[in-house]
C-alpha cells in the first residue's frame, strides 16, 4: 500500500458527467455499462459509485427481497417468522426484565420491543456490513458493479426486516396503548436518518474489513458488547433519575455511546415519550462526520476493494 495509486487512470469512470441525467443512460441501467468520457476526480468517482449503485435499484431491490425469502424458503410461514421471533423475544424479555427491575410490564415490554427492533437494524448494518464484499466475492469478480450496489442491497434487507418487525409494534400498540401525539411522526425522519447512517456504516465496515479481515470478529464482538452498554433492556431515564446519585452519575456516561442517540430519536416518538433535541443533534453530527469519513475512504480505496477480496 506504500505505492501511490493514480486514480484518474482507472478503468471505470462510471458513465461520465456527459450522460448523467440523460434518458439513455438512466435507461441503460447497469454496472455493466461503462461510458467514460472526461477524466474524473477521485471524489466524483466516489459519488459516481453511490449514484451508479442507486441507478441499479431494480436489481438490489429484487436481491434484497430474494435474501429474505431465501432465509425462510420452504417454511410454511416464511418471512412471518421474522415477526414471530421478534414477538417471542420481546414478550419473554419484557416479562423477565419487568420482574427483575420491578417495572410494570406495560412500560418494560414496549421499551424492550422498540429497542430490539432498532438495535436489530443497527447491528445488522454493522455485522453484515463488515462481510458485505467478502460475501459477494463471486459476484464482484465476475460482474462489474458499484460497491454501493452490495451495500444498498444489505441495507434494504435490513429495512425489510425492520418492516416485518413493525407488525409486532402495531400489535403492541393495541395491547399497550402509548400516549402518541402528532409530533411522534418524527419517528419517520428518524428512521430515515438511521438508513442514511446504515449505508455509510456498512460501506465503511465493508471496505476496512475486506482489507483487514480481523476487523470482522472485532466489530462483531464490539457490537455484542454495545448491546449491553446501550439502554435497550435497561431503562435509561429510570437510571438517570435513580435516587442513588452514584448510579445516576454512572448512567450519564451512556451519553458517550453513539448508539444511545440513534435509539432514542426513534424510540421516544414510537413510545410517545418526550423527544430531546440533543439526541437529534448528535445523530446529525454523526451522519455528517460518518459520511465525510466514508467518502474519503471511498475516494482513496474504492478501486482497491476488488483487489483485496
Amino acid at each position: 500500500m506504500s505505492q501511490p495509486y493514480r486514480w484518474e487512470m482507472g478503468a471505470r469512470p462510471p458513465r461520465g458527467r456527459s450522460c448523467a441525467g440523460t434518458s439513455r443512460c438512466a435507461g441503460s441501467v447497469g454496472a455493466v455499462s461503462t461510458v467514460s468520457t472526461a477524466e474524473r476526480s477521485p471524489l466524483s468517482r466516489a459519488f459516481g459509485d453511490l449514484a451508479e449503485g442507486w441507478r441499479q435499484r431494480e436489481l438490489w431491490g429484487h436481491l434484497g427481497w430474494q435474501d429474505i425469502r431465501q432465509r425462510y424458503r420452504r417454511s410454511l410461514l416464511g418471512p412471518l417468522w421474522i415477526t414471530i421471533s421478534m414477538a417471542v423475544t420481546a414478550v419473554a424479555l419484557g416479562i423477565l426484565y419487568a420482574g427483575l427491575f420491578g417495572n410494570p410490564l406495560e412500560t418494560q415490554l414496549p421499551y424492550i420491543l422498540v429497542g430490539f427492533i432498532v438495535w436489530g437494524f443497527i447491528s445488522g448494518c454493522i455485522n453484515e456490513g463488515s462481510e458485505v464484499f467478502v460475501a459477494n466475492e463471486g459476484l464482484m469478480k465476475h460482474l462489474p458493479s458499484a460497491l454501493s450496489l452490495h451495500v444498498y442491497r444489505l441495507v434494504w434487507r435490513q429495512v425489510l426486516f425492520f418492516a416485518h418487525n413493525l407488525v409486532v409494534y402495531a400489535v403492541m400498540i393495541v395491547i399497550f396503548p402509548q400516549p402518541l401525539k402528532w409530533t411522534d411522526l418524527a419517528a419517520i425522519p428518524a428512521f430515515g436518518l438511521l438508513i442514511v447512517n446504515g449505508v455509510w456504516v456498512a460501506l465503511l465496515a465493508g471496505i476496512l474489513s475486506t482489507r483487514f479481515r480481523d476487523l470482522v470478529p472485532i466489530s462483531q464482538s464490539i457490537v455484542q458488547l454495545m448491546f449491553f452498554l446501550t439502554p435497550i433492556v435497561w431503562i435509561y431515564s429510570d437510571l438517570l433519575n435513580n435516587p442513588n446519585p452514584a448510579v445516576a452519575e454512572r448512567a450519564r456516561i451512556a451519553e458517550f455511546n453513539p448508539f444511545l442517540h440513534f435509539i432514542e430519536i426513534i424510540r421516544a416518538p414510537m413510545l410517545g415519550q418526550d423527544q430531546l433535541l440533543h439526541h437529534w443533534l448528535v445523530v446529525l453530527g454523526i451522519t455528517v462526520g460518518g459520511w465525510v469519513l466514508t467518502l474519503l475512504l471511498l475516494r482513496r480505496y474504492r478501486s482497491r476493494v476488488a483487489y483485496w477480496i
Binding site: R6, A11, V29, V32, L143, W308
Partner: protein, 255 residues
C-alpha cells in the same frame, strides 16, 4: 461510439498472506518502525504495460498460456479491476461473460434466475420479461423454468445460462471460455446463437483455447504472454506464431 482504449495499463495484485492481511502486522509495523521489510506487501504483476486500441466492429481473440493474463485483461476491460498504473477507457455498455454460473441462485426458479442474471448484465426487468419466451424456447427447458435451479442437471444449467447470456444486446461483449458441458446437438444451436450475439454486439473480446471457436467468432487476435501483449494482428498469423504451426493449414490436419 463503442471503443476500448488501454494505455500502458499494468495490474499488480497485492498478495496478503494470513499475517499481513491482519491488523497485527500493520500495527506492529507502525510501532516498530520497520517499514522496509515488514510493511511491504508482495505483489504479482498480472498485466504489464498493456496498450490496446479497439474500435467498433473489432472481433478479437485472446490467446496465451494459462496465467498469461487473459482473464485479468478481460476484467480490466469490464471495469472489475482498475489498472494500478496506466489507464483504460471503455466506451459502451459492457457485458462480461466470464463464468456462466455466477449470479445464479440454486434456490430460486429458472425464471427468476433469468431475470436476475439479466439485471446483472445491465438489462432491465421489462427487457428480460420480453425475452423469457425466447429463452425458454432456446433452452427447451419448458416447465422446468418454474422449478428451483438446484433441480437442474449441469447441462440444463449451462443451457439456461447460455440462453440468458445470448439474449442480451451488449455493445461490448467480453467472453471468457468455459462454454462446454453441453450435448453436441445443443452446442450446434448455441453456436448459432453465439454467432448472432457477436454479430449484434459492437465489439468482441474472446479468450479461448479453442481454435475452432476462435475461427468462428474472431478475425484478429492478441497473444498474451506473462502479462504482456506479445503479438496483435490477424487471427491466423497470431495463432501461427503462438502455436508454431497453422492449425487451419492442410498439413496441420495430418499431424
Amino acid at each position: 461510439m463503442v471503443s476500448i482504449h488501454v494505455d500502458n495499463a499494468s495490474v499488480d495484485f497485492p498478495i496478503f498472506d494470513a499475517k499481513s492481511r491482519s491488523l497485527k502486522k500493520t500495527v506492529l509495523g507502525l510501532v516498530g518502525g520497520n517499514i522496509a521489510t515488514g510493511a511491504k506487501v508482495p505483489t504479482i504483476e498480472a498485466l504489464r504495460d498493456i496498450t490496446l486500441d479497439l474500435e467498433h466492429g473489432a472481433r478479437v481473440g485472446l490467446v496465451g498460456h494459462n496465467g498469461a493474463g487473459k482473464s485479468t485483461l478481460l476484467r480490466v476491460l469490464s471495469g472489475i479491476y482498475e489498472p494500478t498504473r496506466g489507464r483504460a477507457v471503455v466506451d459502451g455498455r459492457v457485458a462480461p461473460v466470464f463464468d456462466l454460473g455466477v449470479g445464479m441462485d440454486p434456490e430460486i426458479s429458472g425464471y427468476d434466475n433469468i431475470i436476475i442474471r439479466g439485471l446483472f448484465l445491465g438489462m432491465t426487468r421489462k427487457q428480460m420479461e420480453k425475452r423469457v419466451d425466447d429463452i425458454a424456447d432456446f433452452t427447451e427447458l419448458g416447465d422446468f423454468l418454474s422449478m428451483p435451479l438446484r433441480t437442474y442437471s449441469t447441462g440444463m444449467r449451462v443451457r439456461l445460462a447460455l440462453g440468458v447470456v445470448t439474449s442480451i444486446d451488449p455493445e461490448i461483449l467480453l467472453l471468457d471460455e468455459g462454454i462446454g458441458a453441453v450435448d453436441a446437438a445443443f452446442l450446434e444451436k448455441a453456436r448459432q446463437r453465439l454467432n448472432d450475439l457477436v454479430a449484434r454486439s459492437g465489439l468482441l473480446v474472446f479468450a479461448s483455447h479453442s481454435d475452432e471457436f476462435l475461427a468462428d467468432l474472431c478475425d484478429t487476435a492478441i497473444w498474451m504472454e506473462q502479462g504482456r501483449v506479445k503479438e496483435h494482428g490477424p487471427l491466423r498469423q497470431v495463432i501461427r506464431s503462438y502455436k508454431g504451426r497453422d492449425p487451419w493449414s492442410a498439413g496441420a490436419l495430418d499431424s
